[in-house]
Amino acid sequence: PCLSTRTKTFFSPSKTINPTNHDHKFQTYTWHEFKFFVDASKGNKINGISELKKYFHRFGYMKMDYNSLNFTDLFDDHLEHALIKYQEKLGLLVTGKLDENTVSQIISPRCGVSDSTPKLFMHAKRN
């Protein structure tokens, strides 16, 4: 996926980003619509950015208990912190912002294993 023809349109609430959705209409480019978050800035409420928080939680950049975590559409401190950790871990320029390089990396297909301490199930012992 490339962002060379990025638009400034933010994510439409009428659409759904759902990485676990198996509906065929979502199967072309999973996470691809995160590209609309390029240049989104902290403090703003951005429709759909809660899905990005779920992404960061899934891959080990938000440590809070999933059930108690309120994934709002606010670009808050939690998201900025996760973003910085993500940029550090993947060797990106650490800006704390959703710049094009970072978003391009986020939307790339990837391994399902967490980037931080892998989840317990990935570390299960043979029984």
Partner: protein
């Protein structure tokens, strides 16, 4: 390079032989079994060439150390696959041996033949996931096999210095391995 918490590795004495088998139930039809097996054999060989571990294919799926299958959506381990692209595969740390690939991907062994824009190189993903099965976690080194992402139509099968140093920290070096075999660019990139 990085390890899983507790630095787990296959604990049997070195040299280690691990068996692997393919599920007969969870398969894909877009590639022949021969093509799939060839790609995996190459992937296992990348690791076997640098550490004292041998991989042997087995027909006994139930008793194999490494169990390989292509799954769709929710397949019972709590980490559902998500259709085309997104998450491509996942594998468990030692000594579990489970290796799951997303059956919905356009898996490819030859980009000349598979023209799809969303084709994913099977050998590249297999090589990465075998790193997890052996005990490596994700690295920050973008060129390395253990970097977490892989773009469509990208091929990344050659172990880089980061991968090799990581896996040799767990298992030691294959006596036949020599750093001279690595290209100069690999050596210089990672020494930096």
């Amino acid at each position: 390079y990085a390890f899983f918490t507790g630095k787990p590795r296959w604990s049997r004495s070195i040299p280690i032989t691990l068996t692997y088998a393919f599920s007969k139930e969870y398969v894909i039809n877009s590639l022949s079994m021969l093509e799939i097996k060839d790609a995996f054999q190459r992937a296992f060989n990348h690791w076997a060439s640098v550490i004292p571990v041998t991989f042997m294919e087995s027909n006994d799926y139930g008793f194999a150390d490494i169990k390989i299958g292509f799954y769709k959506g929710d397949h019972g381990d709590g980490e559902s696959f998500d259709g085309v692209l997104g998450v491509l595969a996942h594998a468990f740390s030692p000594e579990t041996g489970r290796f799951h690939l997303d059956a919905a991907e356009t898996w490819a062994v030859d980009f000349e033949r598979e023209k799809s824009d969303v084709a994913i190189d099977l050998e590249s993903v297999a090589t990465h996931e075998i790193g997890h099965l052996l005990g490596l976690a994700h690295t920050s080194v973008q060129e390395a096999v253990m970097f977490p992402s892989l773009k469509p139509r990208e091929k990344k099968v050659d172990l880089k210095m980061d991968d090799i140093k990581g896996i040799q920290a767990l298992y030691g070096s294959n006596p036949n391995f020599s750093y001279k075999a690595l290209s100069e660019s690999d050596t210089s990139t990672n020494n930096g």
